[in-house]
Structure formats: structure tokens, C-alpha cells
């Protein structure tokens, strides 16, 4: 039988039972729409996680000060500062360490003119920007003399700058942090949200020495809350972690069985874990969506079976005038594949619409890739073939006389 004839026949059969065809297709439309949307949204989520990871800085270890247990009581890590700047200096000497930045965070009220803003002030050193892979939008970083002299200088994050200065360039202006004047020497490029959904740009950086001696003096005599360490490469993360552990145990006089008064975390590992969680999530979403595709396929099979029964006499007649079993098989198979393919195309449109809406509503960057479109089309043709095969075979195996006699 000529192929165009098969298509025309199928189209005619579909048009006769228009409502039924549309409802059958709907299963495919929803299935394909869901798969396309889920793949795109999963992709988008993965991309934003990756963006956050790269904004965090790479090959990073972080040492957090504070005993895990103290006198049988377990405190939150970081609650009592036990790390010193000298620890940071010692870590810097370890092989494989690229950069070390101490961190002394605190909250302070910042005032510029009539505007004020409460934010995190982080005492750190010039290496911090390098570790976090954070560029300055304008101005300069801390100099060596700023560090030594505990100068009252500050670098602003974009959010702080926006709230205090609006569109004015803050570099060179003087702000008051906890009522002391600080000169703004730099403005950071925006970084966006962190894992926890915090605004990373809501921050003011000051030299760690300034933070210790002048800003949070009483609280942080000579101690720092944490130390960020960047290694020369990802493969050095665990050896450096071990060496750091040994070094700090020795410096803090902690014997083997004692709990250390610090905690080393591999941030890169955590980030990768988060990334793989996202990957698994999007895979799961895709899988759940595929189930609806299968359900759509079963819908096609169901309707094709009904259609074969309804058209038994027609099949008998076609066989009587010369249709081979293969012709009948082709006819019903074409119909099933046509329904699933048209459903797939409509599903693509629906998926695109969903992705556009989700992107709008949740500020995501879901993208429909060419690969996912290709997968959707391939899968729906396969679904149509698979679920159409049984009914079509059933029709093709009918005995001509039995079929003709069918009422």
C-alpha cells in the first residue's frame, strides 16, 4: 500500500472520531509537555546551582573555630572562636595551599548621610577576593599597609552600595560603621544568591585587623571565626585537609583521643554533593514525567483496541478486496504513530509555555535544549509504535470472513 494512502486513511479515521482523537492525544500532550518542562526546569536548576558553586570559589576548605564538645556539652560550631591569625599564617606555609583568608564576621549598622543599613561586616584579608573569585567593580582591594595598620577602610557589596548610595559611585566616600568613619576603597561586582538563598552582595569587607581591634574588639581579641583555604588543585583537597588537621591539633595541643576545637569542611565536596542532588532531582522529575508519557501511550493503545473492534467489518472488507495483513498492520500503526506524534508536537508547545511561565514566575533559567526536543519526538514515536503494535497486529490477524461477519 502506498504510504501517502496510509497517512490519508489515518487522517480520515482520526477526523471522524475527532473528540476521541483529541482526548487520546491529550495524554501524549501532557506527557510530552511534562517531560519537556521537567527536563528544562531540571537543567535550569542545575545551571543555577553550578553558578552558585562557581561564585563560591573553587578548591575550597574552610576551618571553623569552636569546640564541638566542651565539658560534655556540645556547642554549635563557631560559637567560641578558637582560631588565631597565627593559625592562618601557619596554614599558609603548608604545601599545596594557594591562598588563605581569615574571616571575622559580625553585624553592624552602616550609615551614609541620611541612609543607614544593617549588614554583615566581614573582617578578612586581600586573599579573600581571590579565593572567592570575586572581582572589584571599581576601586581597589586592601593594601599591605591597610592590613598592618588596621586602617578604617571598607569594600562594599553591591546591595549595600545600592541601599546607601543609590546610583552614586561609593568609592572614595566616607561611611560610618558602628559610629566610626571608614573610607570606601572598593565596590564588589554582584554575585547573587548563595546556597542558602542569602544575598551574597549584602556585605561589607574590612581588614581583619581592623575588625579585631577596632570594630568587634571585645568579642574577637585576636581570634577569627573561620579560615578559608584554597588549594592548588582539586586533587589536593584531602591531603591538605589532613595536614591542616595535624597542624592545628599540634598547635592547639590536642592529643589523639581528644575532640579538636576546630572543624575542617570541604566546601567543594559539599557543593558537588548539592550539584549531584540537583542532578538526581531533575532525573527523578524527568522519570515521573515519563510515566505520564507511558500513561498516554496506554491511552492510545486503549483507543486503538476500541477502534479495531469498531472497524472489524471494515478490516474484513479491505481484506476481501485485497489488503494483505501487512497493509492492515500498517494502517492501524500509522494511525497510532500519527496520534502520538501530533500529540508530541502539541506537547512541545505546552512544555515551552510551561517553561516560559516558570521562568517568569520563579526567575529561573530553564532552557529547552534541542536534545530534549529530539528525545521527546523519538520517545513519542516509539510509544506510538509500541502501544499501537498490539492493536494493529490484532487487526491484521483477523480472518477475513470472521471480520466480515462481525456485527
Amino acid at each position: 500500500m502506498i504510504y501517502s494512502e496510509l497517512l490519508r486513511e489515518s487522517w480520515r479515521a482520526m477526523r471522524v472520531n475527532r473528540m476521541r482523537t483529541i482526548l487520546t492525544m491529550l495524554g501524549m500532550v501532557i506527557g510530552v509537555g511534562a517531560v519537556i518542562a521537567m527536563l528544562a526546569i531540571g537543567n535550569g536548576a542545575r545551571q543555577s546551582v553550578n553558578a552558585i558553586i562557581s561564585s563560591m570559589g573553587s578548591n575550597m576548605l574552610i576551618v571553623i573555630s569552636g569546640a564541638r564538645t566542651s565539658g560534655g556539652l556540645r556547642f554549635a560550631t563557631g560559637s567560641t572562636p578558637t582560631l588565631h591569625l597565627s593559625d592562618a599564617d601557619a596554614i599558609r606555609e603548608l604545601p599545596g595551599v594557594a591562598a588563605v583568608a581569615p574571616g571575622s564576621p559580625g553585624t553592624a549598622q552602616i550609615v551614609y548621610g541620611a541612609n543607614n543599613w544593617s549588614t554583615m561586616v566581614l573582617g578578612t584579608n586581600p586573599a579573600y577576593l581571590r579565593i572567592r573569585d570575586w572581582q572589584l567593580k571599581s576601586g581597589a582591594g586592601f593594601s599591605g599597609s591597610d592590613m598592618r595598620s588596621a586602617a578604617r577602610v571598607a569594600i562594599l557589596g553591591q546591595t549595600v552600595a545600592n541601599n546607601l548610595f543609590g546610583s552614586i559611585n561609593p568609592v572614595g566616600q566616607t561611611i560610618r560603621i558602628s559610629n566610626s568613619p571608614y573610607q570606601v576603597i572598593g565596590l564588589l561586582t554582584p554575585k547573587g544568591q548563595s546556597f542558602g538563598g542569602q544575598d551574597q552582595d549584602d556585605i561589607v569587607l574590612v581588614p581583619v585587623t581592623t575588625a579585631q581591634r577596632k570594630l568587634f574588639g571585645a568579642q574577637f581579641a585576636d581570634t577569627v571565626r573561620y579560615i578559608m583555604v584554597q588549594t592548588d588543585g582539586p586533587e589536593l583537597l584531602s591531603p591538605v585537609q589532613e595536614e591542616m588537621d595535624a597542624l592545628l591539633r599540634q598547635r592547639h595541643h590536642i592529643t589523639g583521643s581528644q575532640d579538636p576545637d576546630f572543624d575542617i569542611r570541604n566546601l567543594t565536596e559539599l557543593a558537588n554533593a548539592a550539584a549531584s542532588t540537583t542532578r538526581i532531582m531533575s532525573l527523578l522529575l524527568g522519570l515521573i514525567a515519563s510515566i505520564s508519557l507511558v500513561v498516554g501511550g496506554i491511552g492510545i493503545m486503549n483507543i486503538m483496541l476500541v477502534s479495531v473492534t469498531e472497524r472489524t467489518r471494515e478490516v474484513g472488507l479491505r481484506m476481501a478486496v485485497g489488503a494483505e495483513p501487512a497493509d492492515i498492520l500498517g494502517q492501524f500503526l500509522t494511525e497510532a504513530v500519527l496520534v502520538s506524534t501530533l500529540g508530541c508536537l502539541a506537547g512541545l508547545l505546552l512544555g515551552m509555555l510551561c517553561v516560559a511561565m516558570v521562568n517568569q514566575l520563579f526567575h529561573m533559567h530553564g532552557v529547552i535544549t534541542f536534545a530534549s526536543v529530539l528525545i521527546a519526538i523519538t520517545v513519542s514515536v516509539a510509544v506510538g509504535t509500541f502501544f499501537g503494535l498490539y492493536p494493529a497486529r490484532k487487526a491484521s490477524l483477523l480472518q477475513p470472513i470472521e471480520a466480515l461477519r462481525h456485527e
Binding site: 500500500m1 502506498i2 466480515l404
Partner: protein, 240 residues
């Protein structure tokens, strides 16, 4: 002598039922030469339709053999039988069996679809056959828009469209009034006369059977009579 178009040797058909075997047809030995016009008669349930289905290669005999144009039908594949039905045989049924969604031309052209003939030629040939049966004005009509007689004429056109050499009609006038029935029979007679088309026609009405030249009568699955139709004199006889 030519190879007979139809040649059956002890042909029988048995249906296996729960209550035992049912012999719908037993020991049928019939020869049909090309150009014959045969009426098949017999009481209801005597095996006429079974006989026609076997002749039309819609079914295969369970006993004996059936030779169509000298070829054994039983040993053919489904595909070969489909080709045979397509190229050699035209069917006319009591219930017309037109596809209600297709218009007359498309219905008539259906066998040509399976012969792999392109659309335009199909339509042309189908239209010719519709002219043959006097339906040139109804080419685009759908079957439900036609009278019974007209529908049967469309079915005849469909049976003719592949230039079949054997026309099998199972009670083609069973659903028609006598006037319409006469028209249909007139078409059969003309086709037999003008084109030497071999026709086997099942009927319950002696009036219809009268137009044939040979009569085969069935009773309980057996041929009980095979001879010229009386009273009109036989033109040619092809008894075994």
C-alpha cells in the same frame, strides 16, 4: 480443453464446535469455465455462503482441494491469497459492505489502493466503472446518501474495478425490491454477455436464478443438483 477457472476436488469445510464437528460443506466437485453464469440455490444453512467464501479465497477448504486458475489455493500464503482476491476476484455482498466514510469513487477505487495504483489513475478507473453501472452522477456521494439499489451498484463497480475475471455475489438482491433487483441482474447479465465475466450468484429467488445459465443447488452441504437452468435452453454446458 482449457484449464477451468474453478476446479474443486472433494472440497469440504468443517467447523469445529464445542458440540462436535459441523460439516458445512461436503464433497463438492464443481468445475467452472470462464464466461459461465451460475446461480447457486438452496435452503438456508445449506452451505451456499461457505461455498462462496471458499471460491473467493476468503477461507480455505478443510478437506479436498480447490484450484483457482489451476493453482492450489490451500497451500498459498495469506499474502498470496490477498493478491489473488485483489487481482482475480470481485465480491458483491448482500449487505453491500461499502465504507460509509468514503465517497463512491473512493469506495470503488479501494481494491486499486491495494494494487498500488496511483491516486489519479485510481479515480479515473473507478469513475469509468461507476459510469458502467449508471452512477456517473453520484461519484462524490457518500454511501448513506444512496438508495439500496444504488449502493449495490457501487459495490458491483468496486467488484469490477480491478477487471476481475470472477465475480462472486452472495445474495446481491436479498435486500432489494424486485424492480431494483431486476436492474441489478440486468447488469450482471450484460457483464457476462459483453465481457465474458464469470459470475457465481447466490440467490433464494427463482426469478433471479432464471437469468443464469447454470444452476447449482445445495442441500445440507452437498451439491444435489448441477445443470442448466430450465426452461431457458443451455448455451454451453460444463459439467464434470
Amino acid at each position: 480443453m482449457d484449464v477451468p477457472l474453478i476446479h474443486t476436488v472433494h472440497m469440504g469445510k468443517r467447523y469445529q464446535l464445542l458440540s462436535g464437528d459441523l460439516h458445512a460443506l461436503t464433497d463438492v466437485n464443481v468445475n467452472v469455465q470462464e464466461g459461465e453464469f451460475i446461480a447457486v440455490m438452496g435452503p438456508s444453512g445449506s452451505g451456499k455462503s461457505t461455498f462462496m467464501n471458499l471460491l473467493g479465497c476468503l477461507d480455505v477448504p478443510s478437506e479436498g482441494d480447490y484450484y483457482l486458475s489451476g493453482r492450489v489455493v490451500k497451500s498459498m500464503t495469506l499474502k498470496e491469497r490477498a493478491h489473488l482476491r485483489n487481482a482475480l476476484i470481485g465480491f458483491v455482498f448482500q449487505g453491500y459492505n461499502l465504507l460509509p466514510r468514503l465517497n463512491c469513487v473512493e469506495n470503488v477505487a479501494l481494491p486499486l489502493v491495494y494494487a498500488g495504483i496511483p491516486t489519479r489513475e485510481r479515480r479515473e478507473q473507478a469513475r469509468e466503472k461507476l459510469v458502467d453501472v449508471g452512477l456517473e452522477r453520484y461519484t462524490e456521494f457518500l454511501p448513506p446518501q444512496l438508495s439500496g439499489g444504488q449502493q449495490q451498484r457501487v459495490a458491483i463497480a468496486r467488484a469490477l474495478v480491478n477487471n476481475a475475471s470472477l465475480l462472486l455475489a452472495d445474495e446481491p438482491t436479498g435486500n432489494l425490491d424486485s424492480r431494483t433487483s431486476d436492474e441489478i441482474i440486468a447488469i450482471f447479465e450484460r457483464l457476462n454477455r459483453e465481457r465474458r465475466l464469470t459470475i457465481v450468484l447466490v440467490t433464494h429467488e427463482p426469478d433471479v436464478a432464471r437469468h443464469a445459465r447454470r444452476l447449482i443447488r445445495f442441500h445440507d452441504g452437498c451439491v444435489v443438483e448441477d445443470g442448466p437452468v430450465s426452461p431457458s435452453p443451455p448455451l454451453r454446458q460444463a459439467l464434470p
